[in-house]
């Protein structure tokens, strides 16, 4: 168990770096508390797996430090760091039984057989693998195998952190739910630092207390699921999280006024400076409603999902999506939109203007 701290971490797979694009991750600073459940969320290629492998010691970062409990461990190998990692697809030792698979990390550490036996049975119980302990691991289903990989991480009682690299990728959808709640339950039971990498927002938001959103090798926002939803700090977080994502519209800033499509709108922040190359207004479809006045749009289409209606509209400067109640009447043709002030933000060069 340990607190995990990353300081100014950058990594490049190239020998020399000429531009920003040559870095897989750049300038990452993170503070994760002992025993927390964290998620690294981002699209494919954003650097989240690289970051995870740096923490576990499989990759040595180009720049920066990794600290466990305020001790620099950058130079240590994975065994010395004492971490556990679960990979995208189940990694099991085909020729061994389930029992031997779970005992393998302990045997490698020369722990007495008696102790191993007790520990393996305890973990098998927790993961509901007890009945298959004597079967060959290669005969199990994908979720059974993934449980073994997980179990190999859990048998060691002293691990500093358990890392998950998109562990549910190969699991059937109906089993994903079960395994995910199992993970959550395990976290509460054993109270160990868990770091979960995924590109699936549902997985990240349901698993973690704190979600780190990554985009092009950088952290764009760290926060609770509610923070990420209600106050995206970067337009990327806005449209990556939420379904459909946040509406982002170009705007002009004149003095203290924010102008969208020629209409002055109210936003959450007081604007003080406006020396940006690009200014935008972001508002989630959940926080827009039809009104008698406001931003003029043309209603294009309405799709009913059962729980609510998603309305596609077009304004002068771009499309706007609206989520309306399923029993609400949607005007046809021209309409006006009102943005909820508390949830409407102004962004300068894609970052929120504070």
């Amino acid at each position: 168990m340990a607190k995990v701290t990353l300081k100014g971490l950058s990594h490049s797979y190239l020998k020399t770096q000429s531009s920003e694009a040559d870095w897989a991750i750049r300038g990452v600073d993170i503070d994760w508390n002992d025993g927390g459940a964290y998620a690294l969320l981002g699209p494919s290629g954003c650097g989240k797996t690289t970051l995870l492998n740096i923490i576990s010691g499989l990759i040595t970062p180009t720049k920066g430090d990794i600290l466990f409990d305020d001790k620099v461990i950058s130079g240590l190998n994975p065994v010395e760091r004492n971490i556990a990692q679960i990979f995208q697809f189940p990694v099991i030792y085909d020729t061994m039984t389930v029992y031997d698979n779970l005992a393998f990390p302990l045997r490698n550490r020369k722990i007495p057989e008696e102790e191993i036996k007790a520990k393996v049975h305890e973990i098998a119980e927790m993961l509901e693998l007890s009945s298959t302990l004597n079967n060959r691991a290669s005969g199990l289903t994908a979720d059974g195998k993934q449980k073994i990989s997980l179990g190999r991480g859990l048998v060691r009682s002293d691990v500093n952190a358990i890392m998950f690299d998109e562990p549910l990728t190969v699991i059937d959808p109906h089993l994903k739910w079960i395994l995910r709640s199992k993970l959550k339950e395990l976290h509460q039971k054993i109270n160990r630092t868990m770091i979960y990498v995924t590109h699936d927002q549902t997985e990240a938001l349901t698993f973690a207390d704190q979600v780190v959103v990554m985009h092009e090798g950088q952290i764009v926002q760290t926060g609770t699921p509610v923070d990420l939803f209600e106050k995206p700090k970067h337009t990327f977080v806005g449209y990556f999280i939420g379904s459909p994502g946040m509406n982002v519209l170009p705007c002009q800033i004149k003095g203290n006024d924010v102008i969208v499509n020629g209409k002055k709108i109210e936003t959450h922040q007081q604007i003080k400076k406006s020396n940006f190359n690009k200014t935008e207004v972001g508002v989630r479809p959940e926080f827009i409603s039809f009104s008698n006045e406001g931003v003029p749009v043309k209603v294009l289409s309405v799709s009913n999902t059962g729980r609510h209606k998603i309305v596609d509209t077009e304004s002068e400067t771009g499309k706007i999506k609206i989520i309306a109640k399923s029993n609400e009447d949607i005007p046809s043709g021209s309409a006006f939109l009102k943005f909820k002030k508390e949830y409407t933000y102004t962004y300068g060069d894609s970052w929120i203007i504070e």
Partner: protein
Amino acid sequence: MNKTVNQKAWFFVIPVFVLVAFNAIIPLMTVVNYAFQETFGNNVFMWEGTRWFKQIMLSERFHASLGRQFLFTFIILFIQIPLGIAIALTMPKEGIGVPVCLVLMSMPLLIPWNVVGAMWNIFALPDIGFLGHSLNALGFDYNFTQQIGDAWFTTILMDVWHWTSLVVLLSYAGLRSIQPAYYQAAEIDGASRWAIFTKIELPKMKKVLTIAILLRFMDSFMIYTEPFVLTGGGPGNATAFLSIDLVKMALGQFDLGPAAAMSLIYFFIVLLVCWVFYTLMMRNEEKS
């Protein structure tokens, strides 16, 4: 659902059938024909029943060449399989070294059998060959044309040189197909290098190794050209493996009946060993 009956489809099978008939069925049936009959030429045949089979099965000469054959095959499998795996493990995994190694490894496989035999014959000649001369200069009494041990040593060395590459290439392909996550997981689990080899690499190479062992078994069990050119089966009959003995009997002595019977026994041994081996290797696979 009713299937459409269309017997005309059989016409499409004819070309394959004709081809297989000419290159396999007809020659094999000719051998079967000879194996049960006696002929004095002029296409006159007399029925002999199983006489030739009994004769071969009881013949000491056959027992001796079969024994030599098994010994030879076991020795080369015992050397080539571990050696091939060891070389594959040390080959580079990326960079310019990969194509260089692969090309170098493939070279021996591209040389025709009789050229390999001729090359090694000259290479090993005790007076002028590089290998033979060097060994003698170092104080070894080496002469593969006269000493049984030297003849075996040279034949085995030649086969190892010629065919280990095949095992290397297959093992290398097997190793390359192992996902990096397996190595990473093993690293995190604290596995030793030996444990990584026995618990990950060997199990993952099982299929390619099965193929490598089968191929090397069949090829070495049917070996003919290389020892024929190198030693001619000598000194005496010391390196007369099954094929060499068979050709001697069929074309040297013109004993067509016994030779045909021996061919069929030979064929069934190869078939039987392959079948047993393959079944054993694949049995566990089905269980899991």
